[in-house]
Symmetry: C2
Subunit: 399 residues, 2 copies
Amino acid sequence: MTRAGMVCSGCGKQKPFTYEELTCECGSTFLVDYDLEYVRKTLTQQSIVNRATTMWRYRELLPVQSPQSIVSLGEGWTPLTPIDVSRIPLSIRKLWMKREELNPTGSFKSRGLSVAVSLLKERGIRRAAIASNGNAGTALAAYAGCAGIDSIVFVPEDCPPLIIRECQRYGAHTFRVKGLIQHAGQWVESYKHIFDWTSVSTLREPGRVEGKKTLGFELAEQLGWRLPTVIIYPTGGGSGIIGMWKAFKELRELGFIQGPMPRFVSVQEIGCAPLVRALGKQVDSAEAASPTGMRVPHPPDIVLLLRILKETEGTAVAVSRGEIEEARRMLGNRGISASPEGAATWAGLLRLNEEGWFGQDDQVVLFNTAHALPYETLAGTSNIPLLTNLHDLINTLRK
Amino acid sequence: MTRAGMVCSGCGKQKPFTYEELTCECGSTFLVDYDLEYVRKTLTQQSIVNRATTMWRYRELLPVQSPQSIVSLGEGWTPLTPIDVSRIPLSIRKLWMKREELNPTGSFKSRGLSVAVSLLKERGIRRAAIASNGNAGTALAAYAGCAGIDSIVFVPEDCPPLIIRECQRYGAHTFRVKGLIQHAGQWVESYKHIFDWTSVSTLREPGRVEGKKTLGFELAEQLGWRLPTVIIYPTGGGSGIIGMWKAFKELRELGFIQGPMPRFVSVQEIGCAPLVRALGKQVDSAEAASPTGMRVPHPPDIVLLLRILKETEGTAVAVSRGEIEEARRMLGNRGISASPEGAATWAGLLRLNEEGWFGQDDQVVLFNTAHALPYETLAGTSNIPLLTNLHDLINTLRK
């Protein structure tokens, strides 16, 4: 067994592996600890090469015990697409986009929920609930459906309707509730005992952070066991940041990589930027944040997130809705269908570039965490004109 | 150079490699021919293992000459997900779903257009046009955008609006035209010389069939250089069937695989089933076909398609809209967001199973050619109720 127990990310306290109760007395979060000596016996840079191209290629560093418990739809091992920086006036050396929209449920949330649902299966849990801004709900619905586990999804009232549709397609009971994600979270917590469901909300169980960790493993492997110098990540609950930071630490201890951690940059939207504020930066909050995965006013462990941003000499940046829209257009023209969160990483890149934050040797990774499509409304599509004559064709192409 | 020239799939006539003019005097289609002796020098089962996990890992068997011309967004190498047949009363041995919705543009069309646009780049073409039922238009838009090539997409008037949205997102001039795909095709052909665009419609250029070929390469490699016994494919223009058939022939000549071809099964929708009719089967056509990629009343080379179905002892089957909807529900419950075309392969499987067409040793591959999302409308989403009290929650979960 490679999972050795839990370690508190704050005070270092240890305890045996647990499926729940991740909050330590000190207020910080317990994370899964591995027996790396044992891991090393089967997981080597050489042994990985011939494994299946899903995130389960790193199975020794994932907390699921038996292969029979793994619930997989082919998640992970998404492309890391190089982007030509010469076409844009960027003073960095290299740029990549990690294509997380190419996961089975159309977003990066496939990773965490594949592990979380596998842990539910391992324990014999029959019903799970989640508070989500959308994509995590979709992912729970899909993996739970696949495992024959009942799923209940609570989303904020303004959650994009097509995301709700996807949750329903996978068979989840899906509820819109008044307020924001923390209010959805209250429904999950309050009625836990009445309905006997297990919460898979952010940092309520160990699977989601561990699943997100594979983002870090893949980055390192896809770059030939080197790390980028900067990671720009759209941050809501922040389990991706925590996961990648943990991944790099584990890879370092295993001797797979050397050198410093990348600088972690959290991107948030003006109107809901708790990390940016906590770093003491001014945020113009005239604008309300849009219903995206970044809109998490109270991240479950903001202390750990801030520690990671500071320790790695990263930062947090808030971008506007207008900047996100412009970034989506720019990415579209490069052949990438970007979610608002994914586009926000591009907008954050441009903003920090303008501020002169990068060095010219920086190698930067962005994350397109989901497709544009689930966020789409049909506004304006009813009046896409019908082409009837050559004249109209000439006029449009001349524009 | 591995591409040796063109060979007519009908009469066997040879000619040098051409970027256009694929129709032979005999009426059949010219396909790309490779110098397999030369290919063999660098492409081996061993050499492939360490290559990038995109469809370009088979680059010696793709017609693009220089690596600089390749326009890639990370297409191909999609998961082949095993489906548990014990949960369904199916009298076959094994079942897989090839997850083509996990391509960069959300559909299998990424493959063909990645090659087609690379060939445009190789030739220095600046403008391309396509007649499409939707997903091929999206793919042209994305790859052309990426290569800095102007793209013009013509779709039938009832094309799903979110697909048009995606085409526009990638920067394509997108036009709805009256009628079906052949009418869209008339726009492309009629105004070719006025606007100086190159057609990348089905079988107008060699790249799309060659790109689809990689579906066949991947199936073989992912199954450990064995082939399934049956392939069930949603068929419109049919370049996927032609592509996989060609792939298996090439792999056989290279000695990578042995044994018989899989039986190819074309799935179409009642209301537009030219292949099913051509095989002399009765089709109840009371229903009009829905706007999907299968709705191609006049496939460009139906003779070749029928030959492949007959030679491999396959068949063609027409399913109803109701069967497709039911199949989408069943796939959703297995964690797969399926397009109507992808669901149709599942519906076709159930239909043929009922007819007793399979042997109990059959190993069957289905194709989810695209996500459900692009086909989605928002009908009904405005009245997703807001959860306000425990009573409603109890009532819904009891149902």
